[in-house]
């Protein structure tokens, strides 16, 4: 789960980390008030779960509360990366001595957390990696041992710091690690971390993603976030509730399959035969008839769908249950477009028999099925 900058900073402060003075505003008036409270020049920042908001114009400086209100008004009307901006964060504009990059994420190859730091912050880590790879310091954390204070100091030293800054920056990394462990963080990035002219380290930006698989441990946090419903349409919301993976695309063929890899491969096959998918719908493993019917129902609600391709490779999922679900969907009148079915694996014969009795045709290979559904859409066009 991705947190907004201001939510991440609430957590940072709860762990004793320093952030610039300021607060969230949902209206220009609130922004003015926040800026007045700060009492100094401020920065007004769009709160969206998307990167590069700066380049999109979502970050603006203001010398007065009035100016802050004006910027807030503009930013609150924006969409960044297709997401509407519903709030801004108004914070003191810092007196910068140095911009630093700091992050912790999962290294899939080492299968350890990796701490990433650079004395050259302010740009994205990808740009930094391209422009000055030697300036990026990486330290892998042994999962059972955690980040040790001396390791944190070594990171700070390798990042080029000296004197008192070594221990102060090390303290920052130790806090960040503490947050990662306590909150099951999958990725956190502070870019920039600001070393102020008076020698303090403040998190000027904050990205924090919590491991979805560990959310069950953090119910209180999630409640406290008082999140408005996700930026999802009704179909996406429904699929999420059902635990299905559902993505809408620009084509016209809904692919309903079991397993992410198979669903992706099905989309690829449709494309290979000249078609375009409208829908990625992974039912997951072990679906029963009801769930299959529900999946078809959700897929049919998307206006772009001109044909449905059901591609099931039965493993935990039983073909008889899938067949029952399809028959039920047909019977209930859910399916108003051409339907192509390919279904093999566990209880294949029972499933095929059910389809046969209901007069629903099916195919044996995914290539045939992909070709068929593409030609059906072309015929219909």
């Amino acid at each position: 789960m991705k947190l907004f900058e201001h939510e991440a900073k609430d957590i940072f402060r709860a762990f004793g980390m320093q952030t610039p003075p300021g607060g969230v505003a949902k209206t220009p008036e609130e922004a003015k008030k926040r800026a007045a409270e700060v009492g100094k020049p401020v920065v007004v920042k769009a709160q969206v779960l998307a990167g590069k908001r700066g380049k999109a114009g979502g970050v603006k400086f203001a010398d007065t509360p009035e100016e802050a209100a004006k910027h807030a008004e503009e930013i609150l009307k924006m969409k960044i990366n297709n997401l509407p901006v519903k709030a801004v964060l108004v914070e003191e504009k810092l007196d910068i001595q140095q911009e630093i990059y700091a992050g912790i994420t999962v290294d899939r190859n080492e299968r350890k957390y990796v701490i990433i730091g650079s004395g050259a912050g302010g740009m994205s880590i990808e740009e930094l990696a391209e422009e000055s790879p030697e300036k990026i310091i990486k330290h892998h954390v042994e999962p059972d041992f955690g980040l040790q204070p001396f390791e944190a100091r070594e990171i700070a030293i390798a990042m080029g710091f000296s004197g008192k800054n070594i221990s102060t920056l090390a303290g920052f990394f130790l806090k960040l690690w503490e947050i990662v462990k306590a909150q099951d963080v999958e990725l956190t990035e502070i870019n920039p971390l600001i070393l102020t002219a008076d020698g303090r380290f403040l998190a000027a930006d904050a990205r924090l993603n919590i491991d979805d698989n560990a959310l069950y441990k953090h119910k209180k946090l999630i409640e406290s976030l008082k999140r408005e419903p996700m930026e999802q349409n009704e179909r996406e919301r429904e699929a999420t509730q059902e635990g299905m993976a559902y993505v809408e695309l620009d084509g016209d063929i809904a692919c309903i399959c079991n397993g992410a890899g198979l669903t992706m491969a099905t989309l690829d096959a449709v494309s290979l035969y000249g078609g375009k998918a409208s829908t990625f719908l992974d039912l997951g493993g072990g679906s029963d008839a009801e769930r299959v019917e529900k999946g078809i129902e959700i897929a049919m609600k998307y206006g772009k769908v001109k044909a449905i391709l059901v591609n099931i490779m039965g493993g935990i999922t039983r073909c008889d249950e899938v067949a029952k679900g399809i028959v039920a969907a047909k019977r209930d009148g859910d399916i108003t477009v051409p339907l192509v079915i390919r279904m093999v694996g566990t209880n294949e014969e029972e499933g095929q028999e059910i389809l046969r009795q209901a007069g629903i045709p099916f195919l044996k290979t995914m290539e045939e099925a992909a070709q068929r559904v593409v030609s059906l859409v072309e015929e219909g066009a």
């Binding site: 190859n109 999962p143 441990k217 290979l272 935990i316």
Partner: protein, 289 residues
């Protein structure tokens, strides 16, 4: 020789009393897997599908001389179950459970590494050696036939799809390994390639990958430098739009690395032909064998 699992593998099922554990242990038994015990604290003395249940892995191992484990324990407790299996020196430890927190994954993987134990998964369909009639997992056994091609995959059903295609084409499998769909898994593609490369019962290797991460790119580079056996690959997600999360935690593309194009290029560069569609794997194998 076969990879990781052979006829002498004696399996325990952790979480055997749960619905998943009960269902799949029956299916494994029917396939031929030598399941010798189940584990569920507090249920010692009971039986599931005729398999005796013990309170702990150690008790099960000692009573039944077990040497491998398959874990169906729910996600919040799967990490602990795996650590218990590792502490009892079972090898391999197959973690079927999905949605295991990533920190738990890191812990079990490194606990296993310290003892030279192989963890397969989490979030894996498991491992199957058809010639030994040993299936440690949830895959439909009948789509896998015995033979001399090693198969590895980050995906579940897509693996069955490709195995079925191979079986239909008369190409048998030495061992098929579901590496697991999570960002952190116990056996990486490179490690799996290495196992197959050293296995005298394996003549060729099939790699099934998908978008996200750079594990396939790394495996391709490893093959280029270290592997003489022929290898072929399939990558799912050629048409996936960037930035969209498509089911697997792994299947998200960030930046240029991790795209299907990058992976296909890496394999091509390593002399590993990449199939356009799953059914082409069998054809490519016939070319290289």
């Amino acid at each position: 020789m076969v990879v990781l699992v052979d006829k002498d593998t004696r399996v325990i099922i952790q979480g055997i009393t749960g619905s998943q554990g009960t269902f799949h242990s029956e299916s494994m038994l029917m396939y031929g897997t030598k399941i010798v015990a189940g584990v569920r604290a507090g249920k010692q003395g009971e039986e599931v599908n005729g398999i005796p249940v013990y309170d702990s892995v150690k008790a099960a191992r000692d009573a039944q001389n077990a040497n491998a484990s398959v874990i169906f324990v729910p996600a919040p407790f799967a990490g602990d179950a795996a650590l218990e299996a590792i502490a009892a020196d079972l090898n391999p430890v197959v973690v079927i459970t999905e949605h295991v927190p990533v920190f738990d994954e890191m812990r079990i993987i490194h606990a296993a590494k310290r003892k030279d134990i192989t963890v397969i998964g989490p979030n894996t369909p498991g491992i199957i050696t058809p010639s030994a009639k040993q299936k440690l997992g949830i895959m439909p056994g009948h789509v896998f036939s015995g033979g001399r091609v090693g198969l590895m995959s980050r995906s579940g059903t897509l693996t069955y799809e490709i195995a079925a295609g191979m079986t239909n084409a008369g190409i048998g499998i030495s061992t098929a390994i579901g590496l697991g769909g999570d960002p952190c898994v116990g056996l990486t593609p490179i490690e799996a390639v290495d196992l197959f490369n050293k296995d005298s019962g394996t003549d060729a290797i099939v790699l099934v990958g998908e978008i996200g991460g750079d594990a396939e790119e790394r495996a391709a580079a490893y093959i280029k430098d270290h592997v003489k056996k022929p290898a072929v690959a399939f990558i799912a997600g050629r048409t996936a739009p960037p930035g969209k999360r498509m089911g697997h935690a792994g299947a998200i593309i960030s930046g240029s690395s991790g795209t299907a194009a990058a992976k296909i290029e890496a394999f091509t560069d390593a002399g590993v032909p990449v199939a356009e569609k799953p059914s082409d794997i069998a054809k490519l194998l016939k070319d290289v064998l």
